[in-house]
């Protein structure tokens, strides 16, 4: 509720300054392997601590299993493994961000395991730079864009691309590095 009101407020401010075409979007960011990633806050349903899951037989390794979210069965995906990052032990800071994902078969609720939740930023559309083409071996379609916040790079994820598709994107730690270098 508040987020929506804030945005409305921001918009009216912008109207005065003449940037009426800009849409301020809020992003929830989280940390994974010391990189900061952001997702559209409107798709975030809730944030919960890590709890044990029921594994799904023969599921890909990044699908940790399913949990009971107040009577609904919700799959939990380890974003580190999905990105091909090294595994870490789940600790007290490890959180699950429950997201509403739009897929071809309708809205789905999924959880992603990340290292820690970081911040909420309001970003205008033109702050965002589209992801550079990193060649054939890096799949960038799930990256909505890159943005600089306080001289830090935040990677904004398109969760619908990321979790809606059943394929595992080819992203390794090297690809992130390359991405960073191309920014500077």
């Amino acid at each position: 509720m508040n987020a929506a009101e804030d945005r409305a407020y921001d918009n009216s401010e912008l109207d005065v300054s003449g940037r009426e075409n800009d849409q301020m979007d809020q992003y929830l960011t989280f940390i994974m392997a010391s990189e900061e990633y952001g997702v559209d806050i409107l798709s975030v349903q809730e944030i919960r601590g890590w709890e044990s899951v029921t594994p799904i037989p023969n599921a890909p390794s990044h699908v940790k299993g399913v949990i009971n979210l107040r009577g609904t069965i919700v799959p939990i995906i380890d974003l580190r493994q999905r990105f091909g990052l090294e595994n870490v032990e789940y600790g007290p800071l490890t959180v699950v961000i429950v997201l509403k994902v739009a897929t071809r078969k309708g809205a789905r609720v999924m959880g992603i395991v990340v290292d820690a939740v970081s911040d909420v930023y309001s970003l205008a559309g033109d702050d965002m730079k589209s992801a550079p083409d990193l060649g054939d071996h890096v799949n960038t379609q799930y990256i909505k864009g890159l943005v600089n916040v306080n001289s830090k790079m935040v990677i904004l994820l398109d969760i619908n691309e990321l979790l809606g598709a059943d394929t595992i994107p080819d992203v390794s730690i090297n690809a992130i590095k390359e991405l960073k270098e191309s920014q500077h």
């Binding site: 029921t54 037989p57 399913v66 949990i67 009577g71 069965i73």
Partner: protein, 730 residues
């Protein structure tokens, strides 16, 4: 100002379909010799309320059609007209036609009035006592020329209906002159809105005549001095146009006239004249128009009686695909009352426990236990009652059969009596929806293949009239539906010959009667000598079995040659809850549906044989049962690799039995099935998930899937076909 009526449409459609159902079943009950006034009254009432509500909602086509129906019914009701079997046929066709119209309306498609106008004409013929024409129309093999002969001497009312029908399907250019009242704007009417609505009807061309607008100095801004001339090309009837001007028609001067219809291309035919004076041209045009309209009309006129159901079917299937997403059910009030009572009790128990908890000490332990027992009791009852809301009497499914049997027996020239038993037996709505088609198939089969012609029956020393019995009853947690016919039964020799021919069984294989009867469920198996349009293509029985198995049910056949066959369908009462056996594999808990478990045992190692290649087979009495290691299939770390320390759960699906290796058997409990597909996807070997008492998720095994997986698994590993062949038998 206007109320959005569309929010009530769903209710209207439901009520109307219900009304049609009443009409149909009452019509089938009617005995022409001795008309029961109560039956005819209920038909009349149903027709009347459909007429009333459809005109309320502006479905003029339906209202108009039902009106004619009603007139005939009214005469029968008053006793001024003798009801003839032809009339009943005609009324039944009208029910089909109305159902088609309503389905089209529900799917927000344009209504095809070709069929209804033929029927309206037939009714008018009856009402005016023109018997021979009735005959030709009631079995609609009448061609366009016959109709036009009838039309030429037709009443004003009928040709009006026809013209409307033609206007419905043909494009007409209307000329509309709108001279609004000077106070039009003051009364809150907005001409622009009207033009916009008109433009929705078709192609609109508006010309404004500003000649009457006074000087600017004299002009009052709230007065309207403009006059509009419009040309509207549309397929919609005149009534639709008039409706738009409904609010201004009293004060303003509006003239609507048809200029040139696209179909005629001739001089302007103004509707008023053709109504009062039915010139030969317009009815002939409409008669020509009728066959010219797309598919359904053509097939109705051409293919005769058999085409009837087909004509309405495409519309029906299209409708179910689209408009009917928000389905609803009607629940008996006592079920709701019961639920309210139970919730009341639950609240009392809860407050009792709450009070106990606030001042608890060990001495009150027994009271706590009593309270918890009470709570469990309440919860269970509540659960059962909630489930019962979804339960509907099977008569909803059975009710379609009297009509079907009546039509088919005529078509096949057989005398058939249909007995329905246990119509009040309740089962889950979802199960009911899915069992409809398999049942129709089985009944059609029984009619077509099972029952003999009267001649053959006489020769076999049986009464001429064959009997088909549909019987439904509860047995344990299941509902049993039996389809019994006293026909010729399954022909053992024929099935065997066919199976040998198809290579389903070997030349010299000896099969028991049961095994032979099982063969009819094989794909592509039909012993009918002739493929009829009723059945005999051999795509049926395997599909029937598969559909029933998808519902966790089973189907069996028992047949005695010369005496008849009995098909027995066994279905779970509901799909939402399942009796499950909790098992442990490694550190995970899974659930096996209790219905599929045959027995659980500790394996005697001497009875386990290692078939070459690694597949283990277990000998249970006189059967060899393949062993499936769950931990292997699911990639779970097992507690032990030693079979002797594990347990075997023998499960059965169809006729395939397999033994699952589990580490531990836990309790049995009812579980609520949750879908995995909602947020994830179908997982091989898993049919769903549930939430256990401690809040954790547990997965429910899909036995059919598992057997299949094991089969594939084994085959790819060592080419052993034992499990795979078992799968095929299922």
């Amino acid at each position: 100002m206007s109320i959005d009526l569309s929010q009530f449409h769903q209710v209207f459609f439901e009520e109307s379909f219900e009304g049609l159902q009443v009409m149909e079943s009452s019509l089938l009950e009617l005995d022409c010799e001795n008309v029961d006034s109560e039956t005819i009254n209920s038909i009349f009432r149903a027709a009347h309320s459909i007429k009333g509500s459809s005109s309320t909602f502006g479905f003029a086509e339906v209202a108009e059609f039902t009106h004619v129906l009603e007139t005939l019914l009214d005469q029968v009701r008053e006793g001024t007209r003798q009801l003839l079997p032809d009339h009943v046929d005609l009324l039944l066709q009208s029910v089909d036609c109305l159902r088609g119209m309503l389905t089209a309306l529900q799917a927000q498609e344009t209504v095809d009035t070709a069929q209804s106008s033929v029927l309206i004409q037939a009714f008018n013929d009856i009402l005016e006592g023109r018997q021979p024409v009735t005959q030709s129309a009631s079995t609609p093999d009448g061609t366009g020329s016959e109709q036009s002969v009838a039309d030429a001497s037709h009443s004003a009312e009928a040709s009006d209906a026809h013209l409307d029908a033609a206007a419905d399907t043909e494009t007409i250019t209307w000329h509309i002159r709108f001279v609004p009242d000077i106070n039009l704007l003051r009364t809150g009417n907005e001409p622009l809105r009207m033009f916009r609505e008109l433009a929705e009807l078709g192609e609109l061309e508006v010309q404004v005549d500003a000649g009457k607008v006074p000087d600017l100095a004299l002009l009052h801004p709230e007065e309207c001095h403009l006059i509009w001339d419009m040309h509207l090309t549309t397929i919609r009837p005149q009534s639709d146009i008039e409706e738009i001007f409904e609010w201004v028609v009293d004060d303003s001067d509006i003239s609507i006239s048809a200029t040139a219809g696209v179909f005629s291309g001739g001089p302007a035919a103004i509707p008023e004249t053709s109504v009062s004076d039915p010139v030969a041209t317009s009815p002939v045009e409409s008669a020509e128009a009728t066959p010219a309209t797309p598919l359904p009309a053509a097939s109705t006129a051409g293919a005769g009686k058999a085409a009837k159901p087909q004509a309405s079917k495409p519309a029906a299937s299209a409708g179910s695909g689209k408009g009917s997403e928000s389905t609803s059910i009607r629940v008996a009030i006592e079920k709701i009352d019961n639920l309210v009572n139970l919730v009341g009790e639950l609240v009392i128990t809860q407050s009792m426990l709450g009070q106990l908890g606030s001042e608890f000490d060990v001495s009150k332990l027994q009271k706590l236990q009593e309270g918890l027992a009470q709570l469990e009791h309440n919860t269970r009852e509540l659960q059962e009652s909630v489930m019962r809301i979804r339960m509907l009497p099977i008569s909803f499914t059975f009710s379609r059969f009297p009509r079907m049997v009546r039509d088919l027996s005529k078509q096949l020239g057989k005398k058939i009596e249909l007995k329905l038993l246990g119509e009040q037996t309740e089962l889950d709505k979802t199960v009911m929806e899915k069992i409809g088609d398999p049942l129709v198939h089985l009944v059609r089969n029984a009619l077509d293949h099972g029952l003999e012609t009267p001649k053959d029956r006489r020769a076999a020393g049986k009464p001429e009239t064959g009997t088909i019995t549909l019987n439904a009853f509860h047995q344990g947690g299941n509902i049993i539906i039996e389809i019994i016919d006293d026909g010729k039964g399954l022909n053992r020799e024929k099935i065997l010959a066919k199976a040998r021919n198809n290579g389903v069984i070997g030349e010299n294989e000896v099969l028991s009667d049961e095994q032979i009867q099982e063969l009819i469920f094989q794909p592509g198996f039909s012993t009918a000598e002739q493929v009829t349009d009723v059945s005999g293509r051999g795509v049926g029985m395997d599909v029937v079995r598969r559909n029933i198995q998808e519902l966790n049910g089973s189907i069996e056949v028992k047949s005695i040659e010369g005496e008849g066959s009995t098909f027995t369908i066994r279905l779970p009462l509901t799909l939402a809850i399942l009796d499950g056996q909790l098992i442990d594999v490694g550190r995970q808990t899974f659930i096996i549906p209790l219905v599929s478990i045959v027995e659980s045992l500790q394996p005697d190692m001497s009875l386990i044989n290692h078939v070459a290649g690694g597949c283990d087979v277990f000998r249970l009495r006189d059967e060899y049962i393949p062993i499936i290691k769950l931990w292997e299939i699911f990639g779970v770390e097992p507690r032990t690799n030693n079979l002797a320390e594990s347990l075997l759960v023998v499960v059965e699906v169809g006729n395939a039995k397999v033994a699952l290796v589990v580490d531990d058997l836990l309790g049995q409990q009812q579980v609520v099935i949750k879908s995995m597909e909602t947020n994830y996807k179908k997982v091989d070997g898993i049919s769903g998930a549930t939430i256990l008492g401690d809040g954790t998720v547990s997965l429910i095994l899909d036995i059919t899937d598992l057997i299949h997986m094991a089969g594939v698994h084994q085959q790819s590993k060592n080419g052993l076909k034992l499990v795979a062949s078992k799968t095929r038998a299922a």
